[in-house]
C-alpha cells in the first residue's frame, strides 16, 4: 500500500513517528514535495476562504499527492496533553479535506489523543487495520515509532551570533521555508541567532504559566508563553519575533498576552498569508535588526 504524507501542519514535528509507523507496517511512503507556489495556489483554490494559511497549504499538499497513493495521512490531532487542546481546525481537518477536495483516496480519520500511549494506540489500531490483521504487529510498529519520535531532536538553538532572538510561532510556519520566505537564514545573515521553544524543557513551561489567571487550554499557548517568559526572565534573548499566519485564532490571543506581559522586550510580529510580498517582509526584519543594534549601542553609552 502506498501511503501519502502531506508536508503540512504538524508534519515537521511528528514526521519520525508517522514515517516509522507506516514503514514498519510495510507501506511505501510518498511524501509531497516541499511547499511551493503550485501547492500554495492549489490550496488557496480548494480551501474555504476564511481558513488560515497553514490549513490552505495542507489542502494543497493533499491535492498534489492524492493521485499517487492509496491512503493519505490526515492527522486529526485532538489533544497532545491532558486537558489541553490544539486548535479547533485540527479536530475537523479530515472533514475539511473530504468536503473541499474531490476524488480522494482513503484518508486517516481516527482521532489522535497522544497524551498517553494507551490512548494513542487506539489510533494505531484503527489505522493499522488497513495494513495487517495482527495486533502484535501494529503494536510493535507503534512502539518503534514512538521510540523514534522520542529520539527526535527538535528545536533550534544557535550559538555564536551577535544577537539572539526567540523565534515563536507554529512549527508549520517556522520550518516551512517557503511560507516564511527562509526567515531563519535571513536572520542568520544579519548576525542574529535563533532559539525556539522546543529547547526549553516542558516542566519549566508548566511552571512559568502559573502566573496567569487562567491555565491556558491550548498546548501552543502554554508552550509559547512559558518559553517566552523563561527566556526573558533569564535574559537568554535580545528580542522576540513572532511568526504568525493571518487569521490564526490562537496567535491572536498569545501575541496579545506576550505584548501585555513583556512591554520592554523588542517585539516584532510578522504576519504571513498567501499575499505576503517578500520585499515588505525583508524591510520589517531589517528595521527590527537596526532597532536591536541601536538599543545595544544606547545601553553601552
Amino acid at each position: 500500500m502506498k501511503v501519502g504524507i502531506p508536508k503540512g501542519l504538524l508534519y515537521y514535528k511528528y514526521k519520525p513517528f508517522f514515517t516509522t509507523f507506516f514503514e514498519e507496517l510495510g507501506a511505501e511512503i510518498i511524501e509531497s514535495p516541499d511547499t511551493n507556489k503550485e501547492i500554495l495556489d492549489l490550496g488557496v483554490k480548494l480551501c474555504t476562504d476564511e481558513a488560515c494559511l497553514p490549513i490552505k497549504v495542507f489542502h494543497g499538499h493533499v491535492e498534489k499527492i492524492k493521485d499517487k497513493c492509496d491512503l493519505i495521512l490526515v492527522p486529526r490531532i485532538m489533544q497532545v496533553e491532558k486537558r489541553e487542546f490544539i486548535c479547533p481546525k485540527f479536530c475537523g481537518i479530515p472533514e475539511m479535506i473530504e468536503n473541499n477536495i474531490k476524488d480522494l483516496p482513503l484518508i486517516t480519520k481516527a482521532p489522535i489523543y497522544s497524551y498517553s500511549a494507551d490512548k494513542f494506540i487506539n489510533w494505531a489500531y484503527e489505522t493499522g487495520k488497513l495494513f495487517t490483521k495482527s495486533y502484535v504487529k501494529i503494536q510493535k510498529a507503534f512502539e518503534d515509532a514512538l521510540k523514534e519520535q522520542n529520539n527526535f531532536k527538535e528545536g533550534i538553538d544557535h550559538e555564536g551570533f551577535q544577537y539572539k532572538i526567540a523565534l515563536i510561532g507554529h512549527t508549520y510556519n517556522i520550518y516551512d521555508k517557503f511560507i516564511n520566505m527562509n526567515l531563519i537564514k535571513k536572520l542568520n545573515g544579519f548576525g542574529i541567532g535563533v532559539i525556539t521553544h522546543e529547547v526549553v524543557d516542558d516542566s519549566i513551561k508548566h511552571m512559568e504559566i502559573k502566573k496567569l489567571f487562567k491555565r491556558p487550554f491550548w498546548t501552543f499557548a502554554r508552550e509559547y508563553y512559558g518559553f517566552a517568559s523563561y527566556a526573558v526572565k533569564n535574559k537568554l534573548i535580545d528580542g522576540i519575533i513572532y511568526l504568525s499566519s493571518f487569521a490564526c485564532g490562537i496567535d491572536s490571543v498569545i501575541v496579545e498576552l506576550l505584548k501585555l506581559e513583556f512591554e520592554d522586550v523588542p517585539f516584532l510580529l510578522l504576519k504571513i498569508d498567501e499575499h505576503t510580498g517578500e520585499a515588505g517582509f525583508d524591510t520589517r526584519v531589517e528595521a527590527f535588526v537596526d532597532m536591536l543594534t541601536r538599543r545595544k549601542r544606547g545601553n553601552l553609552a
Binding site: G92, N99, V255, E256
Partner: protein, 366 residues
Amino acid sequence: MKVTFPHMGNVYIGAKFLMDGLGIDYVIPPFNSKRALEIGSLYSPEEICLPFKIMMGNYIESIERGADTIILTGSCGPCRFGEYAELQMKILKKLGKNLDFIVLDLPSDIGFDELKRRINKISSQSPKSKKEKYMALVNAYRIIGLIDALEAKAHERAGYEVNKGECKCLLNECKRKLLDTNNPKEAISILKEYHKKMDEVEISREKNPIRVAIIGEIYTIIEPFSNLYIEDKLMEMGVSTKRTLSPSWWVYNTVLLSPFGLTAKRIRDAAKEYLPLGVGGHGQECVGEAILSYEEGFDGAIQIFPLGCMPEIVSKSILPSIARDKNFPILSLVVDEMTGEAGYQTRLEAFIDLLERRRGYVLSGN
C-alpha cells in the same frame, strides 16, 4: 459592589432580574451601538473575533456608569472564548480600571471549591436569605426561558401575521415594559400576558411563508447588533425564522446537561454523518442544525459567524456538501466590525429571492 455583564441578546433581562432578586446593585451596559463597538475595537487585539470587541465596549461603557465588578461565564476551549477573561482582565488593568472579574467556569476545570468561592463573592453581597436567593435564581431562569420563547414565537409567527409588523411591535413593547419593573414576579406576569397577546395575533395559515433557520456561532446569532438585526430584517420581509440556540438553551445544555454528557444530544447526533467529533464552540451544532432544519422542512438556512471563528470555519467547509447532497440552500454570512449594511442586506435579499423562486420552480415543474 456594582456588577455588570456583557450583552448577548436577552441575557440582560435574565441577569437584571437575578440581581433584582438578590438585591445587588447592577449596571446594564447601554445597548450595543456603534460607539460600543468603536471603543471595543480600539482596545482589543486586532485579530480577535467580534464578540470580544463588542464585550470590551460594553465593559467600558458600564465602567463609565459606575460598575466595578464584571461577571462573565467561561469555558475551557478549544474555542477562543475561554481566553477572553484572561485577556480582557489584562487589557482593562492596563487601561487603569480598577475592577473585579468574576469568571464562572465549569467546575470540571477549576474545581467545585473555586467555583463556590467565586459564586460566594457575588452572593455574599446579597442581603437576602438563602431561600430568597434560591428563588431569585429560579425566577431569573424562568424569565429568561419565557422571553426566549416569546421571541421564538414572534420570529415564527411573523411570517404568518395578517397585520404586518404586529409581532415585532409586541416583542419590543414587552422588552420595554420589562425594563420598567424591578420585581421578578411582575416580570413573569408581564411575560405571560405578552405570551397570550402573541398567541392572539391574527395569523393566516394559508400564507405559507418562506421558512429559514438561523444557525452558526452562538454570540453572533443571539446578539442582534452583531448580525445587523438579521431576524428583524427577516421579520420585515415576512419570513418565518427559527433559531435553536438562545441564552436559555445555553444555560440548559451547558450548565444542566453537561455533567451527564447530554449537551445538545439530538443536534450532535444529527451532525454525526458529516462531523463525528466536536470541534469546539458550536461548530458541530451548526452542522447538526443544518441537517435538522432540512429534515423539518425549512426552505433554507443562514449561517452567521464572526471573521476568523475557528470552529465555524470547519463547519463552513462542510455546509456546501450538505447543501449539495440534500438540495438545501445555505447562506454563510461573515460579520466583523467592518461589515457594511448595504452589501449585507443585498445578500440577504438575494438569498430570500432565491428561496422564493425555487418554490415557484418546484410548483410549476410539477
